[in-house]
Symmetry: C2
Subunit: 748 residues, 2 copies
C-alpha cells in the first residue's frame, strides 16, 4: 500500500536554529495535546512544549496563552557526573526522524563520553496516543560500546519554557511503586485549574533482572520537577530498553485528574508498548483511509500534501466530539504558545473545509465552539458600542478577545505599536457565518442551526446592522473603518471583501429564516422573538436593497477599498528596498507598505475565490493579474487563494508553484519566524488546509452544487491522477480525478 | 508717551543657535516682505531671508514654499583679503537690536583686524519701509581706530538658503551710475514669474568728496550674485556712512518689475534717508495709535504683548487691500520658508480677531483670500470624492493643498510617516465660515457676503453634507474619520469640536439665507439657483434636526471623540518618559501619545471657548479641569485657549501663566524648532494673536453682543488698567478697563 520512507522526514545534526525549526517540523500530537519535536533531555532553551488544547492562562500584563504542561517524558543521561545532551561537545551522531503516517518521533544519538568511558547510544521513539489522548509513550533504548555505568535522570520536568509565563504553581509531587511512577499536581495561576501529570518508568526486562541493571534509584524533588536518578550498569554492546509513559489530565477533562492520570498510567503499563502501538496505529490507519489524498505523477507534491494533512490531524480535537465542550483549532495548532493559542478565521476559511469533506462531525465542532463563545462575541460587540455578535479576532475558550490593541513591536523603539486587528477586522463574524453555510451545504443538517448556529448568524447580522452607516451622498449603506484580510492597510472604508462577506451574512440569515419558516415556523418564530430580532429583520431587508458592494471598474478590477487605487503604485522590490530592518513591520503609519498598493495577502482575490460563482472568468483574471504582483504573500493564507483563483481561470500550471509554496510551508520549516520583534514561529494549519483546498477545489475542481458533487478536472501538467474522499450528506464518496475525466464511487 | 527702550530687544554675541533664533526674534517686515534678523554679511548657513508674501515656488519632489528673494542689502567687509563676519575669530563685540515700535533692526559689530591693522566697527540700521512696501533701507556706518584701507563688498546676493529650493533661475544682472546701482532680474522656476531686485549704494557725503574715500569700485558678476567691491580709505576714528536701498518687485505686483524697481530706487535716493524714515515711522505711529494695547501694572506683559502685536503688523498684507489679489497671513508669517509659507486655520481663529477689532478692512482681506481660493477648495473636495468646498489645510495662492500625505519624518528610520492632516482635518472649512460670521458680527457689512462669502459658506456646508453619514443605529447624522485640533489622535469619529463647528456652518448658512431672503431675495435666489443649492438646503435642514453633537457626561465632561475616554489615562510625565528621542513625533501609530488621553493642544476647550454662550460655567470648569492636565500644549495655539476659558470661569490668575506663555513665545524665541526631523522654527502669528485674544477677550471680557460692545472686567490680580481700541460697524471705540469697571469712548 505505501512505502514507510515516503512518510518519513529526518534531520541529522543539531544547530540552535534547527532546534526551533524541528520543534515544529517534528511535531507530534493527538488533538488533545501537541508535543514539540525536541529531544528527551530538552531544557527550557530548546523550547520543549506539551501544549494542551483549550487550556489557557494569563500572567501579569503579558499575553494570555495556552498552558505548557510539565513534561512527564523528560530523560537525561549523566555519565561520570556529566550530563550529555544532543549537540554538546561529546555528541558524535545525532538524528531525529518523524514518521508522519503514525505520528512517531524518533531520535538516535551517540556520545563519546569523556575519559575513555566509551560511546553511549540512545534511541527513542515517542508518540501521543491517538486513541487514549491523555497518554504519551516513549521507548528508550540505551547501549554502550564498552561496559560502563551511567545515571539516567528521568521524571517530570516543569521548568519548561513559557513565552508569557509562568502559568503553573502550587506544585505537589510524589512517587509510587519503587520510585518508578512519579506524580506531580499543580494549578494554573489565573483560574486555579488543577493539572495532574504522571510519569511511569518501565524496564523491559523481568523484575528479577532489574537489579542487575539498575543499581539504585534515588528520587529527588527539585526546583524544576520530580526526578528519579537511576544508576544503570551497561554491558558492552548489550542494549537495554525502558518504556516511559506519561499521562496528563486537567479538571476540565475529568473531575479527578490525579486519579484519572494514575488509572491511565496503570492501564498503559498493563497493556504494554506493543498493544498500545497497535491501537495507536489502527486509529491512524482509519484516519488515512478516507483522509488521505493520493497524487500520481508528483512525489514531492504527494509528500508535502500528506505532511500537511498529518499536521491537521495531529491537532484535530476529535476527543471533544463526544463532550459538551467543543474545541476548535488555533492558528498555530498545538505547536507552541505563539499567536496565544488562539483561534483565528484561519479555522473557518482554510482548515474547516478539509474536515468538512472527510469528517463533518469535527467541522461541526468548530461551529459549536463558536456557538459556545457567542456570549464572548456579544460582550465584545457591546464593549465597542455595537449590538449582536462581534467574534474575537483571537479567540480562546470564552470568546473574549485575546487580541491586544498592540500587536506589533516597533523594531526601532522597542515600543508597542497601535494596531487595529482587534477592533476593525470585523469580517471575522462573517467568516464564521460563511463556514456555517458551507457546513449546511455539504451536510444538509438543520440540527446544528437549531442548536445555536442560526442564533449565531442572526446575532452576527445584527452586529453588522449596528456597524454600518448610510451615506446620504451615495444613497447606500456602507461599511466604514475596517481592516480586510490585507492587514497592511488599516482602517479603510468599503473593503470589497468585507462588504461582500457581510452581504452574504444577510443573505444567509434570510435564507435560513425562510427555510425554517417553511419547515419549522415555531422554532424560527420563537427564536426571532426570544432574541428580539423582528425590527432588525425588517431593517436588514431594507439594507440589502441599498447595500454597497464595490464593483469591477472598466478594466474589470475591483478596488480593494475606497481610495486604494490612489496609493503609490510601486513594485514589491521597491517597497522591500525601503526596509531599514529585516524584522520591521510593513503596516501601520510608518510601515513601508502603508501608503502603497503593496498588500500583505490575498484580499479581493480571496473574495473572488469564496464567491466563485458570482464573477466571470474575465473578472477573475483581471484581478489576479492586477493584485498578484502587488502581493507580498506575507501570510500563509495568501498563496493558496491565488492558486485557487488561477485554477478557476484555467491556469493550473501558474497556480502550481503557489500550491507548492503552501503545501511545503511546514515540511521545509522556512517561514516567517518574527513579526516585528515578536516570535511567531510554529506550524501553519491554515496553510495545511490551504494545500488541500488547492489540490481538491483547485486542481480537481471539486465543489458542491445543489447537494451534488461537481468535478472539473484541471490537474497540473505533470499530474496523472488524484484520489480522495468526500462525505456528502453522511455518504462517503471516493473520487478519482484524471486528466480529462473522473470517477466517483460510494463507499458503504 | 513712551520710552523707546521699552520697545527694544537686543542680543549680544552670536552663537550658531542664536543665529537661527535671532532670525525670528529680530525679524522686520512690512506685510509685503519679511526680512529675517540676520547681519548684513549673512551667508546661506545663517539662513538670511527676504520672504515675499504670496509668491511660491516648487522644486522637484520637495515641498512647495515661499520664494526667498535675492538680498539687495548684502554687505561684507574685507580687510587685507580676509572677509570678516559677526562671530568670527576677529570679532571683539557684536550686538543686534530690534526696535519694535518702528521695526528697525540695528547691529553694532567690532573686529580687531589681523596683522595690527586696527579695529573696525560697523553700525547699521535697517527696516522694511511701511509705506513703500517694496523698499528696504539700510544705513551703514563704518569706523576704524587707526587709518586703514578696507574693501566693502556690496550688492545683490542670490546665494540665499532655501529649505526646498532652488526656486530662482534665469539670472540677469547689470550695473548703473558708476556701479553704485546694481540690478538683478530672475524668474521663479515653476511658474516663470519674473522678479526684479535693485540695490543702490549711496555715500552720505558730497560726490566731490567721494573719491577721497572710495579709491575704486569694481563690479563683478559672481555665481552668487552681482557685487561691487568698493575700496575704502578709513581715517582714524572718522566714521563714514553709506545708505543702501533695495527694491523688490515681481510681475504679480506690477507689469514691469524692473522699471518699477528702478523707479522706486531713484525715488528713494531722491527722498533720502531722513525723509524715508519719517514716512516709515509715521505709518507705524498711525498703526500704534489704535493698534496698541496699554497694560498698567505689568511691564513684562506689556512688553510681550506689544512685541506680539508688532509681529502681527510686520506680516499684515495692508498693501493688498487696494488690489484685486487678497493676501492672507501664513502660519509662520514671513519669517522664513517653514510651514511652506502656507495659510492655516491659525489666521481665521487666532489672528483675524485682532485685525477685525482694529482694522476690519484687513480682516476682510483674509476672507477675500479664501473666496479667491474657493476654486482650489472645490478641487480638493472633488479630489476626495466630495462636493462643495474643502479648504486646503495648508493653503498657498491657489487654494490647492500644499499639505502632503507625509508631514512627519520618523526619527528612527528617516522615512516619511503617513499623517492625515490634509485629508481628515475637515474643520478647516468650518473655521473659515466661523471667521466670516465673526466679521459680519463686528462689521454688519453684507457686502462681503454678496461678493462671494455667502457662496463660500454654502459650498462649505455642501462639503460637510457630502461628508457626513447617517447612523441607522443611533438615528443621527455623524461625522466620521476626522482629525480635530488635537493632531495626536488621527482619524477619530464625532470629534466634538468638529461636529459643533459643522453645525455652526449649517446655522450660519441658514441665517444668512434668511437675512437675504428678507433683504435681497433676488440675490439669494440667484445664488441658490446658480450653485444649485436647493436640494442641499432641504437636506441641510433635515440634517440639522438629527445632527449629533457630543454632550457633557454626568461629570459635565464632553468626550473629545468617540472612545477617547477608553484610552490609557496616564500623566503627561509618563508619556514623556516613554520618548526614546527628544525629536520624535508623539502622534501616528507608534507615537507615545496615540493610545493615551494625552492631547497635543486644546480641542474640547477650543470648542467651549468659541461657543462660549452655549455652555454653563460648570461645564467649562469641568472640562478645563479634565483636559488641561492631559494637554501637552505642543502647539502655540493651545495655551491661549485654556487661558480664555479659565477667564470665562472667573479664574484670570490661573489663566495668567498661559497668557504669558502665549505672549512671550516669540520674544524669548524658546519654542519647538523641530517636529520629527523637520525644521519648523519661525515666528508664531497665531500665538501673537492669541496673546491679544487672551488680554482683550479674556482679561477684559470683551465681546460683541447684538452689535454692542460688552466688557466684563476680570483683570489678573496685579493688573491695574488695560486700554485698547475696537472698531465696531465702522466706528472706533477707545476702551479702558479697570478692576471693576470700564470706560468706553468713541473716537471721531
Amino acid at each position: 500500500m505505501y512505502n514507510l520512507s515516503d512518510w518519513d522526514i529526518s534531520d541529522v545534526g543539531q544547530s540552535e536554529e534547527d532546534v526551533l525549526q524541528n520543534g515544529n517540523r517534528l511535531l507530534t500530537g493527538n488533538g488533545y495535546m501537541g508535543r514539540r519535536g525536541v529531544v528527551d533531555e530538552a531544557e527550557a532553551q530548546d523550547m520543549p512544549a506539551t501544549i494542551l488544547s483549550g487550556l489557557y492562562d494569563h500572567h501579569g500584563d503579558l499575553w494570555r496563552e495556552p498552558v505548557n504542561s510539565p513534561d512527564p517524558l523528560y530523560s537525561l543521561i549523566i555519565a561520570d557526573n556529566i550530563p550529555v545532551r544532543a549537540g554538546d561537545k561529546y555528541t558524535v551522531f545525532h538524528e531525529q526522524t518523524l514518521n508522519f503516517r503514525y505520528g512517531i518521533y524518533s531520535r538516535h544519538t551517540s556520545w563519546q563520553l569523556p575519559a575513555d568511558r566509551g560511546k553511549v547510544t540512545v534511541r527513542t521513539e515517542r508518540y501521543a496516543h491517538m486513541e487514549n489522548v491523555h497518554l504519551l509513550c516513549t521507548r528508550f533504548t540505551l547501549c554502550a560500546d564498552i561496559s560502563c555505568q551511567i545515571v539516567l535522570k528521568q521524571g517530570i520536568n516543569h521548568a519548561v519554557r513559557d513565552l508569557n509565563g509562568p502559568h503553573l504553581g502550587n506544585f505537589h509531587s510524589w512517587s509510587l511503586q519503587s520510585k518508578r511512577i512519579l506524580g506531580l499536581s499543580c494549578k494554573t495561576l489565573e483560574q486555579n485549574i488543577p493539572l495532574a501529570v504522571l510519569s511511569a518508568f518501565v524496564p523491559l526486562f523481568q523484575e528479577s533482572e532489574v537489579l542487575n541493571f539498575i543499581i539504585k534509584t534515588d528520587t529527588v524533588n527539585e526546583e524544576g520537577g520530580i526526578f528519579s536518578y537511576h544508576t544503570i550498569n551497561l554491558k558492552e554492546k548489550a542494549a537495554v530498553t525502558f518504556y516511559i509513559y506519561g499521562a496528563i489530565y486537567s479538571d476540565i477533562d475529568v473531575k479527578e485528574p490525579v486519579t484519572a492520570a494514575e488509572d491511565q498510567i496503570h492501564q498503559a503499563i498493563k497493556e504494554g508498548w506493543d498493544n498500545l502501538l497497535i491501537t495507536h496505529k489502527t486509529r491512524w490507519d482509519k484516519i488515512w483511509h478516507n483522509g488521505d489524498v493520493i497524487i500520481e505523477g508528483d512525489e514531492y507534491a504527494q509528500r508535502c500534501l500528506r505532511y500537511s494533512l498529518y499536521h491537521l490531524w495531529l491537532i484535530a480535537p476529535r476527543h471533544s466530539i463526544a463532550t459538551n465542550r467543543a474545541l476548535s483549532i488555533p492558528a498555530r495548532g498545538l505547536s507552541g504558545q505563539t499567536y496565544k493559542g488562539a483561534v483565528f478565521w484561519d479555522t473557518e476559511m482554510f482548515i474547516s473545509p478539509y474536515f468538512l469533506a472527510v469528517m463533518p462531525e469535527l467541522a461541526a465542532q468548530f461551529i459549536r465552539y463558536r456557538i459556545q463563545t457567542l456570549p464572548g462575541a456579544k460582550r465584545k460587540a457591546a464593549e465597542y458600542g455595537y449590538r449582536g455578535a462581534f467574534f474575537a479576532w483571537e479567540s480562546q475558550e470564552t470568546g473574549d478577545d485575546a487580541c491586544s490593541d498592540f500587536n506589533v513591536t516597533d523594531v526601532f523603539t522597542g515600543r508597542p505599536v497601535r494596531t487595529y486587528f482587534r477592533d476593525k477586522q470585523i469580517h471575522i463574524s462573517a467568516d464564521v457565518v460563511y463556514s456555517i453555510k458551507n457546513y449546511f451545504d455539504i451536510t444538509r443538517n438543520l440540527l446544528l442551526l437549531k442548536e445555536g448556529a442560526l442564533e449565531l448568524i442572526l446575532e452576527s447580522a445584527r452586529f453588522f446592522l449596528s456597524y454600518l452607516y448610510y451615506s446620504p451622498e451615495h444613497k447606500r449603506y456602507e461599511v466604514l473603518d475596517v481592516i480586510g484580510p490585507d492587514e497592511y492597510h488599516e482602517r479603510v472604508n468599503n473593503n470589497a471583501f468585507t462588504n461582500k462577506m457581510i452581504f452574504a451574512v444577510f443573505e444567509t440569515a434570510c435564507n435560513y429564516i425562510k427555510i425554517f419558516k417553511e419547515s419549522d415556523p415555531e422554532f424560527i418564530d420563537d427564536l426571532i422573538n426570544r432574541i428580539n430580532f423582528k425590527d432588525d429583520l425588517l431593517f436588514m431587508e431594507n439594507v440589502m436593497q441599498h447595500f454597497y458592494i464595490p464593483q469591477p471598474d472598466n478594466r474589470g478590477i475591483i478596488e480593494q477599498f475606497d481610495g486604494y487605487f490612489r496609493l503609490e503604485d510601486c513594485s514589491l522590490d521597491t517597497v522591500r528596498s525601503r526596509l531599514k530592518d529585516p524584522k520591521e513591520y510593513w503596516g501601520s503609519s510608518g510601515g513601508v507598505a502603508t501608503a502603497t498598493q503593496i498588500i500583505k495577502q490575498a484580499d479581493v482575490v480571496t473574495m473572488l475565490t469564496l464567491f466563485n460563482n458570482d464573477y466571470s472568468a474575465e473578472i477573475k483574471k483581471a484581478n489576479l493579474d492586477y493584485y498578484e504582483p502587488r502581493t507580498e504573500h506575507g501570510s500563509s493564507l495568501s498563496s493558496c487563494m491565488y492558486a485557487l483563483l488561477a485554477c478557476e481561470t484555467g491556469n493550473s500550471d501558474w497556480a502550481y508553484p503557489f500550491f507548492i509554496k503552501t503545501a511545503e510551508i511546514d515540511i521545509t520549516g522556512k517561514s516567517k519566524h518574527f513579526a516585528g520583534l515578536v516570535y511567531i514561529g510554529g506550524t501553519h494549519p491554515a496553510g495545511n488546509g490551504g494545500a488541500w483546498l488547492t489540490a481538491i477545489r483547485g486542481f480537481c475542481g471539486f465543489s458542491i452544487e445543489n447537494n451534488k458533487i461537481k468535478i472539473v478536472p484541471r490537474l497540473p501538467e505533470h499530474w496523472k491522477k488524484v484520489s480522495f474522499s468526500v462525505t456528502l450528506s453522511g455518504v462517503e464518496h471516493k473520487i478519482t480525478v484524471l486528466k480529462d475525466n473522473y470517477t466517483q464511487e460510494i463507499i458503504s
